[in-house]
């Protein structure tokens, strides 16, 4: 537990986490502007855009927030990579030599931090939707619980991919490059039917099972996959990411 406390202290006392969270909120806010606010303030110009009504608009917001996969990737890469490329990681091992505990503490902290950031962005979307979206009603409590666990599952899987990439490369710059390459390439591959069945992007995006109309549903990969299949894919990617993290940190000296 004290290792988690150390990681919590590292993440909360540095600027990167709040700055990235603000960026995430800005991206989600931009989406909300075009999908909710724009239609209200300039209905003629917004013609053709889907009209998101309450309460579906909130589900869309949860999906919009939790599918900012770059967030967990970059957070994990920058924080862990910053340690691996200096003597911070080695020094940490001189205080707690069990690498498994060190990895899990970091992984868990990054995943929780990502989940919280997703939820903050979701709350921002909810605030805009509550003011600007047409219609009535709010999400059921069970749906809100779903937002939390689905955000967490996505955060876990993508954090694992990020820690895996940086543990293999041990350098922040190249690992960010590889992380973003995975983010974009996997996103395109997810549109290819054979890959869709194992795609982390498809499984993550479809987890919320939201088709917000306007003919966009066909562009969301993985919508046809059952929930157990989506969770299996995400569990597989989590295992792969953590396995690579473990192997990357074991195979070379600290």
């Amino acid at each position: 537990m004290s290792l988690v406390r150390a990681e919590y202290r590292k993440i909360t006392r540095r600027k990167i986490y709040p700055v990235m969270t603000l960026l995430l909120v800005a991206f989600v806010g931009l989406g909300a502007f075009f999908l909710i606010v724009f239609g209200e303030i300039a209905p003629e110009a917004a013609e053709g855009l889907p009209v998101l009504e309450k309460p579906v608009v909130y589900e869309v917001g949860a999906q919009q927030a939790a599918t900012q996969f770059w967030f967990p990737l970059i957070l994990a890469v920058v924080l862990l990579g910053g340690e691996l490329s200096t003597t911070v990681w080695a020094t940490s091992l001189t205080r707690e030599s069990r690498k498994g505990r060190q990895i899990l503490a970091r992984f868990g902290t990054y995943a929780v931090a990502t989940t919280i950031a997703f939820l903050v962005a979701f709350c921002f979307w909810v605030a805009l939707a509550a003011v600007f979206a047409p219609g009535e009603g709010f999400m059921e409590p069970a749906d809100l619980v779903g937002v939390v666990w689905k955000s967490a599952v996505i955060a876990i899987a993508w954090t694992a991919v990020g820690t895996g990439a940086v543990s293999l490369l041990r350098s922040v710059g190249p690992a960010i490059g590889v992380g973003l390459a995975i983010y974009f390439a996997e996103g395109f591959l997810a549109l290819w039917d054979p890959w869709e069945n194992v795609s982390i992007t498809a499984a993550s995006t479809a987890l919320f099972n939201v088709d917000f109309g306007g003919g966009f549903g066909g562009l969301i990969p993985g919508l046809g996959l059952p929930l157990w299949h989506q969770l299996t894919i995400l569990a597989g990617w989590t295992a792969l990411g953590l396995g690579l993290t473990w192997w990357g940190l074991q195979r070379r000296d600290a």
Binding site: S2, L3, R5, A6, R9, K10, R13, R14, K15, T86, T87, V88, W89, A90, T91, S92, L93, T94, R95, E96, S97, R98, D253, A254
Partner: protein, 303 residues
Amino acid sequence: MVSMMSNGSAAIRVRGLHKRYGRTEALRGLDFDIPAGQLTGFLGPNGAGKTTTFRALLGLTRPNDGEIEMLGLPVPSRLHEIVKKVGVIVEEPGLIKSLNGRTNLAIAADTLGFGHERIEEMLEFVGLTTDAHRKAGDYSKGMRQRLALAAAMLGDPELLILDEPLDGLDPAGQHAFRARLKDLAAQGRTVVVSSHDLADIEALADYVVVVDEGRLVTEGPLESMLEVGNTRVKTSDDVRAAEILTAVGLDVRQDDSGLLVGGAGGSSVVEALAKAGIFPDEVRPERSTLESVFLGLTGRGDQ
């Protein structure tokens, strides 16, 4: 090889340690013991294998062969227990530069699994209380080293392993750091300090381990190493005296203070000179410097 222990117990025991990096053999069957409760200098030129040895002790690199025991426990199988009792600075102090000194210590305490009770005490010990709110990245090198020492001391360790802690410090910083290390040794802790600087070790250590090219050159109490017999001789005719002593097979060097005779006691010098009718004005034992011992043992003095 000299191998003496002060109280019979070794804080660190290394046998047959080998480490290869590709074709480069960094450690070639290194053996040594570090006595408990003393300040030991781990001495060797750059590239001798000092940092690799420390990294192997701490599980940061896997040796290809050999056995390590620290505080009576085997490494790496019991390392997770050992590290709680060991304070470490290896290479650059592993500080998070964007965080202030106090937070760095809090993180170190959390990682160790200890409370924060000793943080203020350690800041005071290393003289950083008033700078604890500043970012570690804004510290001078000396301040960073002192903060790293404070972090290493948080767990009240039995054993301190410090890799080149004085390297790059200005004279005032070195003085302050040496004073802290002597305080720690005076408390009965085992302190191991590596350095390539012979003067550092001579000023600090009770016990010395000398390594070169990945092998042990010698180990033993510093005093006994420095007492290896040199004799200072002054006569009315140093040139002739030098000829006589050289003729009987002694190693003689002439300098401004007279003759320095290596490897011989005063009585044998007096005897040789008296036989030739020369009666010296002064004969006294002269301590070696660590530098001369080191150069003699490694053969580097001839290079």
